[in-house]
């Protein structure tokens, strides 16, 4: 295996090959109905939470801004449904702590058309104006990070962007939302790429697609514009290729320097879902009110990719998709990096790419495994895409030597992809230990 990938010229060093389990790759995107109540958190992105613009009891129209951006690293929120604001209060969030949300009761008689928003001619806009239009649309990275998109597209002074890298890897098992978007919304994606290239000043765009999605690559090739430097590149499938640094290495054979952004190499990386949504929203002058979510898992009766109104509670999503009654664990995102939710009242937010349901059978299988001490097999070292030594980090974490972890063993480079934990034969929860260590170090630094 290893030797083969070496001969083929591997995309990036190390990484793992979990079973892909993409059950829903061939099912077209369907629309999820509106839940009776939608919960729109004011913080669905990295950065400052938005400020509410509506009051309790006010009627809102689908697509209407209901919260405004608070500063540069923040985005507005739009009403995902026509209805009435029932409350603005604390509700459980996926990460655990309760956060402020706008609760909207749906008008069931409404046609739920998006009437808000004025069409705009983006091609006549200056780059800065495009960036502001992106911010007005409330767009964040739909791949999972939920980083405000306009902040990525705004090129700081002194930096130049050569390449717009479009991330269509979708390396997480189970998830197929990006795949379906590439197949069904290739034209929207090309529009989004054109505007993003204008905004950043990039002279070319490269769409990286893993080679387990030939249908997506084919659809993109058919939609390529004749007059712009946009390329589709198939890269060998390997987890975590969806990480921007890994994708850049796969495409350019160059490593982004440790602690630096891709911008230092003249690149900006955006997810296909983000750009496809932008391609649809920007010309219409509308805001982000829904997104494509993969609802899947072993035992789900109607798995598939659904266009879900933002704010739909997970319980409604699961009922609709036919989640098994014995569901024991619900994960937002993919199985390698996703967040396990504590409450089914948590809403789908902008960063949720998948809702993954595991039943008792699968969780018991993992629970039943004994945890051994590290036997120093070195599998984690062979799998860490960042070139760290998770075995050593794990032993240091057990001894609580957090400063040593950060200093000599580069804990800060870890982006929690989970490869080390996936391969570990001793079943040690390495990534969780690293998360705890990072949190303690953050708290120490803040104190």
């Amino acid at each position: 295996m290893k030797l083969l990938s070496y001969i083929r010229g591997e995309a990036f060093q190390r990484g793992v090959h979990p079973p892909s389990c993409k059950l829903t790759a061939d099912t077209p995107i369907r629309r999820l109905p509106f839940a009776p109540r939608l919960v729109v958190p004011l913080s669905q992105h990295i950065g400052k939470p938005s400020r509410p613009l509506v009051r309790v009891g006010e009627e809102v129209v689908r697509g209407q801004p209901i919260a405004e951006a608070d500063g540069w690293l923040s985005v507005p929120q739009h009403a995902p449904v026509t209805g009435v604001v029932e409350a603005i209060e604390l509700r459980p969030s996926a990460r655990g702590p309760w956060s402020e949300c706008i609760v909207i009761r749906t008008y069931e008689a409404s046609t739920q058309e998006v009437l808000w928003g004025a069409p705009q001619d983006i091609d006549a806009f200056e780059p800065q104006e495009i960036v502001l239009a992106v911010q007005r649309s409330g767009m964040v990275g739909l791949g999972g990070a939920a980083f405000p998109s306009h902040a990525k597209l705004a090129v700081p002074d002194g930096a130049r962007v050569e390449t717009l890298v479009v991330n269509g890897c979708e390396c997480e098992p189970y998830l197929t939302c990006d795949h379906r978007v590439m197949v069904e919304q290739a034209a929207d994606l090309m529009t989004g790429i054109r505007h993003a290239m204008r905004a950043t000043g990039a002279r070319r765009a490269i769409i990286g697609v893993e080679d387990n999605k030939p249908a997506a690559a084919e659809a993109l090739r058919m939609a390529l514009p004749p007059d712009a430097e946009v390329f589709v590149e198939e890269v060998p499938t390997k987890y975590p290729q969806g990480s921007e640094k890994m994708l850049i290495t796969a495409l350019f054979g160059i490593e982004v320097p440790s602690g630096k952004l891709p911008l230092s190499l003249g690149m900006v990386v955006n997810n296909v879902g983000t750009l496809a949504a932008l391609g649809r929203l920007l010309p219409a002058g509308q805001g982000l009110v829904e997104r494509v979510v993969t609802i899947t898992g072993p035992g789900v009766a109607r798995p598939g990719d659904y266009r879900v109104p933002l704010g739909t509670p997970i319980s409604f999503v699961l009922d609709h998709a036919g989640a098994p009654a014995e569901a024991r664990q619900v994960v937002l995102g993919g199985p390698m990096m996703g967040q396990s939710v504590a409450s089914l009242e948590v809403p789908v937010t902008k960063g949720v790419s998948g809702v993954l349901v595991f039943s008792g059978k699968e969780t018991a299988g993992r629970e039943g495994r004994k945890t051994y001490p590290c036997i120093k097999c070195g599998e984690c070292v062979e799998s860490c895409p960042m070139g760290l030594n998770p075995s050593m980090l794990g032993m240091l974490a057990a001894r609580r030597e957090y400063d040593e972890m950060a200093g000599r063993y580069h804990l800060g480079d870890c982006f929690e992809c989970g490869c080390c934990t996936w391969v570990c034969p001793s079943n040690i929860p390495l990534v969780q230990q690293f998360r705890v260590a990072k949190q303690i170090l953050r708290e120490k630094a803040a104190a």
Binding site: F147, I254, E255, G259, G266, S315, P335, G338, W422
Partner: protein, 379 residues
Amino acid sequence: MKASVEIRSAPHIKGPRSVEQIMANVVYSLVPICLFFVWQYGLSALASILVVTAACLLAERLFVGSGTQSGSLADFSATITGLLLALTLPPGFPLWMGAVAGFSAVALGKALFGGIGCNVFNPALVGRAFVQAAFPAAIASYTPSFLPGRFSEFIPSSLAWPLMMPPDTAAWLKAMQIDALSGATPLAMWKFEGMLADIGELLSGSGGHLALGPSPLLILACGAYLALRRFMDWRIPVAVLGSAGLAAGAIHLVDARYPDALFVLASGGLVLGAVYMATDMATSPVTPRGMWLYGTLIGLLTVMIRYYGGLPEGVMYAILIGNAATPLIERFTQPKPFGQDASRRARKSASYTLHPDYISREEAAAKPSGKRWRGRIKS
């Protein structure tokens, strides 16, 4: 969907590997080698393997049962220790001494350090070192292989009463009335009598009546199985055998009184040590560069001890010294993190190239330190 949900930390799926699976595969790969050993030496070898392994399992059971350490009999690690230890002992080694070796291997080599994964030295070699110090005469007395009647009678020394010294096997051997019988190992014959054994017989382990361990070729084949299925790292055996071969070859060129590289590689326990002992996961480095260094150290030390030491065989001490050096080696061979190794910055075979004009010479000091903590995947 009213059932309570559970919270777990990512990743929510798990790879197929487990400690039990790795250890069980090592045991499977050892089975052909043990069968070959039994075919060579008959009943005594079989009894030795069983008794030594049983002693290891008994010790493991006692210490795991005491609640001081994790691990279990079902993880097969004590079984591996027992099988390997039995293969390194002479086939006619008194069974009660074998039991002592097995027990001390697990007790001193593993349990004392805290059980599976925590040991510093290879337990099988600790056991062997213990009996080498305790019973130097018994461990040096080999018997020839493929003796007639090996499946119907024990080598007399095997059945010595506990705490009794074994009877001398020389008289018993004389009664065989076969030409060219010697209880000396090929290494001892070279070291003390200057006689070189035939290389083909050494490699196959099946020629004549040499006092040999299992065939090096068979061990290499079983090791290749493990390496291909990635239950063992291929770098360590390659480094051990490569460095030992190169060192022996160089010395042979300078001074032809020393044997050639092939003899050094095929004789004694070098192949068994390189493939099965030096690769013990817990006692070898985890870093790829460290593995090369560790293997090279063992290979060189083996040749040095064999040529210039008082003992005919040096693999055991070479590996034990390598084990002791492992933490130090690891410390100096940490992998280079992504984006920090200048030599890996650019790869020739890339699909796209970058225009140098766009690469910022000095990344503006804007906010990289804050970004480093953020676990970010996908854009």
